[in-house]
């Protein structure tokens, strides 16, 4: 556009001739941003006034700011580049909070830009003023109120750097309206001025630690690899596979580590923890060495810490030094990028096998751990989606279906499973899938939700229609908030308090939005509808009516030991 063609002359002249909003747009372009998710409002209007001058910045108008943050999160996880979301001050900014916390817990690089009331109004409880810096301090990696136009370009550069380096995370920039209007000089291509925050510090003791780790790996009789989100974030797929194949050590993938290692690989065991397979948790409890790669030994993975892997020594490789030894005591802690550390470790690790140990683990396996009572089971649905769609990305929501999608779907491709792990945010899948679809325009994206989570953000179908985002939506409808109902069944005397949930007619809902929709009640309709949904060029929706009281098995009771799974429905209550 005309404004940009004068860039060099603007920079060389002393007189400031661009607005803060134009600087903001240029700084976003400088960072390689091509899409932003947002919602306009009073305090961000100068930014939206400038935006049409920069058509390279594609703006996606969401229907709720929470969706903007989740979509930016999905975009970031799928592309590896920071996702950007924009909101106005006050309610616009506070609506981002859940999305920021989700990204913070799952280490997704995000840059959020919020409008703020003008500087002269700050602190006076002005209309739509809220202290978003104070509110988001504990759920962002960094945040900053930009107090002058002269800081603006640097603040954007710093935000992108901080969001991406080390362990990624969300960064929020709060820009007062008058700073957006303030005139300043745009100077492109400047280096970032940073103050503190050491995200990657290399420890001098690493060679010793690597040698110790290699020795432990050589000596172990019952070793396991536990691979987490760090494998995906560090692009360490090949290195993980090389370590596993050289040593024969079985690989466990945590919820966020799924698709870090091919599910069909003979060394792949499955998911550990609260809903992990019995043989996986049993292997952990019998192991004498656990090699933790890019994970944080979260409580959903370990169960009761006092009884977690008591016979195992733990090697913990992690980019965030503060995670090492936080939850489990480690024999060897290696602080660094998982990929780099694995490359170094591979030079020290000798070829070996674990055949005896793997045979032992096989004896732990149950033939079938889910207990579906026929009809349309999650297993059959996921099998159909997988066979029909081929290579695609699966974005799941939170609840029972999330566990089925984690455990039953055959993930073959790197980074093909995206979910809200740490925060467990219901309503994540639909908006996050929009971000994934924009980051990966050449492959199908499925958003798989329960009937509860879907209704939390189903307004985003309108966004998909308006922007032409072809997400395939699957709703697993059991008429309950299923995971909460399962807990009520197991631990709360089967008192289904506030868990039965009514749904609209999803087929007619789809029609109302002008997209294709189907309801599948029986397995004989399954193939046809899934094929039609995949063939649909735009967004499409399938409601799957599943068994109302299906449960996720096995299950470790909250705070329980991995050694004591629940493997079947509790006995029915006998009326007194």
């Amino acid at each position: 556009m005309g404004v940009d063609s004068h860039q060099s002359s603007v920079a060389s002249r002393q007189s400031p001739t661009v607005t803060g909003s134009q600087i903001l747009c240029r700084a976003l372009l400088e960072q390689g941003v091509d899409v932003l998710f947002g919602y306009p409002g009073g305090a961000i209007m100068p930014f939206y006034h400038a935006l049409p001058e920069y058509p390279q910045l594609r703006h996606i108008l969401v229907r709720h700011e929470q969706a903007a943050a989740h979509a930016a999160d999905g975009y970031a996880r799928a592309s590896g580049r920071p996702g950007v979301c924009v909101a106005t001050s006050g309610p616009g900014a506070t609506n981002l909070v859940t999305g920021l916390a989700t990204a913070h817990m799952d280490s997704a690089p995000l840059v959020a830009i919020t409008g703020q009331v003008s500087r002269s109004m700050l602190g006076r409880d002005a209309f739509q003023e809220t202290d978003i810096i104070g509110i988001t301090q504990p759920i962002t990696k960094h945040n900053r109120l930009v107090e002058d136009v002269e800081e603006l370009a640097d603040a954007v550069r710093e935000a992108f750097q901080v969001a991406q380096e080390g362990r990624p995370g969300p960064v929020l920039l709060d820009v007062p309206k008058d700073v957006q209007n303030q005139r300043g000089v745009w100077t492109g291509g400047q280096a970032v001025r940073r103050s503190g925050g050491q995200f990657v510090r290399h420890r001098t003791d690493r060679p010793t630690a690597l040698e110790q780790a290699a020795r432990l790996i050589a000596d172990a009789q019952r070793p396991l690899i536990m691979a987490g989100h760090g494998i995906l974030l560090a692009d360490a797929y090949a290195e993980l596979r090389a370590l596993a194949e050289r040593t024969g050590i079985p690989v466990i993938t945590t919820l966020l580590g799924i698709s870090g290692f091919p599910a069909s690989h003979p060394l792949h065991l499955g998911m550990p923890g609260m809903h992990g397979e019995v043989h996986v948790n049993r292997a952990i409890q019998q192991a004498d060495l656990i090699i933790g790669l890019g994970l944080r030994f979260d409580d959903r993975v370990t169960g009761n810490l006092a009884s977690f892997a008591r016979g195992a020594r733990i090697i913990h490789v992690e980019l965030d030094a503060s995670e090492i030894g936080k939850n489990v005591p480690v024999a060897v802690g290696i602080h660094g990028d998982v990929r780099v550390v694995l490359q170094q470790l591979l030079q020290l690790v000798a070829r070996r096998d674990c055949d005896g140990w793997r045979e032992e683990i096989e004896t732990f396996r149950h033939s079938r751990e889910e207990h579906f009572r026929g009809g349309l089971s999650p297993e059959v649905i996921l099998d159909s989606i997988s066979r029909t769609t081929g290579r695609c990305t699966i974005v799941s929501d939170v609840g029972q279906h999330q566990m089925w999608v984690a455990k039953l779907y055959p993930y073959q491709h790197a980074n093909s499973h995206i979910t809200s792990g740490g925060l467990g945010t219901m309503g994540f899948a639909v908006p996050a899938a929009m971000g994934v679809a924009l980051a990966r325009p050449d492959e199908p994206v499925w958003a798989i939700s329960g009937d509860g989570g879907f209704q939390m953000n189903m307004q985003e179908i309108a966004t998909m229609v308006q922007e032409g985002i072809p997400v395939k939506m699957a709703v697993f409808n059991n008429g309950y908030l299923g995971m909460v109902r399962q807990w009520q069944q197991f631990f709360h005397e089967r008192r289904y308090s506030a868990t039965p949930i009514w749904s609209p007619d999803y087929v007619r809902l789809a029609q109302a939005y002008g997209i294709a929709g189907w309801r599948v009640d029986h397995s004989d309709q399954l193939e046809e509808c899934v094929q039609a949904a995949v063939a649909e060029p735009g967004p499409s929706l399938i409601e799957f009516t599943i068994e109302q009281e299906a449960n996720v098995f096995p299950m470790i009771p909250p705070g329980g030991s991995l050694s004591e799974p629940i493997e079947g429905d509790p006995a029915p209550l006998v009326p007194a």
């Binding site: 810096i133 301090q137 990696k141 710093e158 103050s195 503190g196 510090r201 503060s322 030894g325």
Partner: protein, 168 residues
């Protein structure tokens, strides 16, 4: 073993950086018994000292969290026995005229000095470790203490130099 640990942080002297650092400690649910902040010899940089009632590994983890923060230049944790910890106290009290000599005796014992005097009260200034200050305050309880202002503990490690970023 749980004992007090000193955590010293060099950070930008902006309120937002200070609240972020303190908020981080609060969010991690660490038991803070003392907090002090003041300027350093470097313009724009403050020194924050926290006393945390925890074992050394907990304090070390707090340091690792702080080191990740934008605006933090350096952070370090050490046991009070590995350095010097001091706090300053100002004590305003009333002593009857006939017991003024007794007050001076107590002040001398604790190397406290009278820094302000009015017809109704005096202000004593004293400094030392937290235990020393508490001991002195107990000794002064025999007089009528009107108000006490304590600075919170500041600390310097004897073997490590935070300013140059050398951490254990």
């Amino acid at each position: 073993m749980t004992a007090s640990q000193a955590v010293a942080v060099l950070l930008e002297d902006r309120l937002v950086t200070f609240t972020r650092a303190v908020g981080l400690i609060r969010r991690r649910n660490l038991p803070v018994s003392s907090l002090a902040v003041g300027p350093t010899t470097t313009p724009g940089i403050s020194r924050l000292t926290l006393m945390i009632d925890s074992d050394s590994s907990t304090a070390d983890r707090a340091v690792q969290h702080l080191q990740k923060m934008v605006g933090v230049r350096a952070a370090i944790a050490f046991a009070p026995s590995e350095g010097v910890t001091r706090e300053l106290a100002l004590v305003k009290l009333r002593a009857p005229h006939d017991r003024f000599a007794e007050l001076l005796d107590v002040a001398q014992l604790y190397q406290a000095s009278i820094v302000d005097e009015s017809p109704e009260s005096v202000i004593l200034e004293l400094s030392g470790s937290e235990a020393f200050v508490l001991s002195c305050l107990r000794a002064l309880e025999r007089f009528e203490i009107i108000e006490v202002a304590r600075s919170g503990t500041v600390a310097l490690g004897s073997g490590t130099d935070l300013q140059s970023g050398t951490t254990p």
